[in-house]
Subunit: 261 residues, 2 copies
DNA sequence: CACAAACAGGCATAACCATGCACGACCACT
DNA sequence: AGTGGTCGTGCATGGTTATGCCTGTTTGTG
């Protein structure tokens, strides 16, 4: 019933709030306060944080699941995607060469990479994300292999044994991954527990790994560790002053490419 | 069947009012007051709020659905074959019940079925089509299992050993299939060789099979045989004079449902 | 018209909320 | 150690929202 752990890590508590929200379809500030034995103020701050992160819908008295974007909204959302991501994707796409076997992670950034390929590309693409699979199947010269299994509603990608087994049987030349968060020492971390094994399997199956990420993810840490930074060979990101220094990654032997200003 | 989990969250209550309105076509203030165990004043304020947000049409005694924009309907109506498919899909969707495990074939018709499900449906859905998988993942209560493997560019669905093995391990209550062609004696046939094994596997894994098809497919024959008609339990099609007589199928023991004129 | 149901506006109360502040824990650095 | 910074938390303040009840008015119906 109650959570007996004495000192809750804030991020862990927020993670649990998300689980409760998914289970019950709603959470109330007063109940959460009691459940975690913290003041309602803390819960309110948690919910405000989760709301601004786009993970819940804050309402009076608590929070509700974020309404899913419907199909047509999805395409408009693609149009709204940051122009920065498109430019990063174009940079990443230049690393992909004819004849390669390429793993595509799920996520909006890698989806943009899939859309940024030259029209006459000839590769074999492997992905666990149906969205990315559809984008890739637009290319006549791309053979698309889709990993199956139960679909994770958050990341819109397959997870579980089924997908892992398929990935384990593949040795790819290249993996394109978008990272939730990356930190020079902690490594690559994710917000969703379910995504971790599949991301790990992708990194394991690829001889070369390219990560594409916006500058705000640099130096960030999420609850679940995917891999150390040393797994990366190339990091493609923006040139952005202030946030994380890319030299930290270069010292780890990672090739860092940055968008021209 | 009252809502025993009282909605303490105002916004959740309004959300549920919208669902009730969609389900019943109308809501009455007095009934809602009883249903949610709040005063009629509160319900009135809810309805006023929803009305000013443009989500319902407030009337004396309750509220009605807001008349839809004719703009969107206009574009969808441009393609009248789609219109028929949508209506067929709605008919098929009525056969799907909460708790079932449902196989969704690939194809535009079954995709429409996936879109025609009630918003609060709770099922486990299995499909080899990433497009259908995405449509299904819009529903909160639907667990989506995607069959993986190489993507067939024609049908936009996974085929091959990988997908077959997943389907073989599933015993579903229901399969929804759109047929390329169906003939009383020849049976169900397909234009694409690659699709045949996967369609067969779906039919084998389901205890009940519903086929949805437009009238022009009745009596047609394509090169590759999938299964005899006796595999079908229900056939949903248009009422269309001239083309194939549905009595042929009824004599085979198939329940035939037709669109009202 | 007469009558009951539904309504709008005002009011009081309780729950909920945003903000600022203070305290303690922790970390980095001299 | 010491020091200064950040972070998470709880508390106090005053503002906002939601709700139920009241009063009088409007609407639909026989």
């Amino acid at each position: 019933m109650h959570d007996h752990s004495i000192a809750e890590l804030p991020s862990l508590r927020r993670q649990k709030i998300l689980l409760l929200l998914e289970r019950d379809g709603k959470v109330m500030a007063s109940e959460l306060s009691q459940h975690f034995a913290v003041s309602e103020d803390t819960i309110r701050r948690d919910l405000a944080e989760l709301d601004s992160a786009g993970l819940v819908q804050r309402v009076h008295g608590g929070a509700l699941p974020r309404p899913k974007d419907s199909g047509k909204d999805y395409f408009t959302r693609l149009d709204e995607t940051d122009e920065v991501k498109v430019r990063l994707a174009q940079l990443a796409a230049q690393h992909i060469e004819d004849g390669q076997i390429v793993l595509f992670d799920s996520g909006s950034t890698t989806l943009q990479v899939a859309r940024a390929l030259p029209a006459d590309i000839r590769i074999t693409a492997v992905t666990a994300s149906p969205l990315t699979a559809i984008a890739l199947s637009e290319y006549k010269g791309v053979k698309v292999i889709l990993a199956g299994g139960e679909l994770n509603p958050h990341s819109m990608s397959a997870s579980g044994q089924e997908a892992l087994r398929l990935l384990a049987g593949i040795k790819a030349d290249l993996a394109i991954t978008g990272v939730c968060a990356i930190h020079p020492e902690v490594g690559i971390t994710s917000l969703h527990f379910d995504e971790v094994p599949i991301k790990q399997a992708m990194l394991d199956s690829a001889t070369r790994v390219i990560a594409v990420t916006t500058a705000d993810k640099l130096g960030a840490v999420e609850p679940f560790v995917v891999a150390p930074c040393t797994r990366l060979h190339t990091l493609i990101t923006e040139r952005h002053p202030g946030s994380g220094n890319v030299e930290d990654y270069r010292r780890l032997g990672i090739v860092v490419e940055q968008l021209p200003d």
